[in-house]
Symmetry: C2
């Protein structure tokens, strides 16, 4: 290939890791389900939890549902990129599938809680951090209630925690609103963020 | 409105100014024409030039074609946000329509040369700077030749300048490739950049 026909600027040196976070009840799972159904070419890495499976959830899709013993083993074997206890249950991000997807050049998305996002930011500062929020606290409360999975005490705790978590917005790159009945707009915004990040000059190199 | 129903995070405090730049022959005008035809809700601010109108161009759409005297008057009246001489002709960005559009809350796009983008960055650091490039120098040369508007000496100068200009990529936020026959992808990337920038946490405020 002659020098003239060489591409002027290389493609992104590394694939993207998209970290989707937000308070409990923000709708992270609904967004990911809709994204998987769309043609967004992302690799979805399923996280692990020791909490009981909810009726609407599918094992190994929404989460890998594992026992506390299995989770503990994975911590000891250093198989988790990050893990945290949230509302009395353990949640963890498996290291291997993320490494494999990124090594294979695939843009990857992973869902984590707010604490987990902060940990991943320290390990992988080049990741893209998206904060998903409902448009108002009233809508967040309504969603948590509709889930019928929490006791009134749990519910109050989640709402209190969400209020604190929303104040950590500034350590994220992007905020996406998940409005009731307008999930497609939220998914489309996330897809735009992926496209735009791939166009960022900071992720490119000049070959000229 | 109760505090609970208040939006958690305010909409972007200020509308976006998108600065589209790139070397001569990158296809800035073709991209802007296609964007105007699409449903991208941006305000297009037409820049001024003293260079002769090309056959395919429309006055007050592609440029405001003005005399050197008129251009000089506008400089003296401080009516230009920035101006520069490029290949022996003057090009300028009118201040008033940009101010009016931004004051009215409209996301605005303006096309400027590489020097002009650097000047606007100093005045309006919050603007979004997009660098449009052809995929290779060979394609840039081919496009400039196809235009049939430059003499061989002009053409050689533009190619030499483009090579220098591409090295200034690092002072831009985004790079978009304008591949022959794939203009819709370039337009879609610019639209994604606008959407993503509006989701940037740095452009939002928490009201909680």
């Amino acid at each position: 290939m002659s020098r003239e026909n060489q591409p002027l600027i290389t493609p992104p040196a590394k694939p993207l890791l998209i970290v989707l976070s937000g308070p409990s009840g923000a709708g992270k799972d609904a967004i990911l389900t809709r994204m998987r159904e769309s043609d967004c070419p992302l690799k979805y890495v399923t996280t692990l939890t020791t909490r009981p499976q909810r009726p609407a959830e599918t094992n190994n899709v929404d989460y890998h549902f594992v026992s506390a013993e299995k989770f503990q083993e994975m911590i000891e074997r250093n198989e988790l990129l990050e893990y945290a206890s949230v509302y009395g249950n353990w949640y963890g991000v498996p290291r291997k599938p993320i490494k494999q997807a990124l090594d294979a050049g695939q843009d990857t998305v992973v869902k984590v809680d707010i604490q987990g996002a902060a940990t991943i930011r320290k390990i992988l500062p080049g990741a893209v951090f998206i904060f998903l929020v409902p448009p108002s606290m009233a809508e967040l409360k309504q969603r948590l209630k509709q889930r019928h999975t929490e006791t009134p005490i749990d519910l109050a705790l989640r709402i209190k925690t969400a209020e604190k978590e929303i104040k950590q917005l500034s350590s994220f790159d992007y905020v996406v609103f998940n409005r009731q009945g307008d999930i497609d707009r939220a998914v489309s915004e996330i897809q735009s963020i992926v496209t735009a990040e791939k166009c960022r000059v900071a992720r490119r190199e000049i070959t000229l």
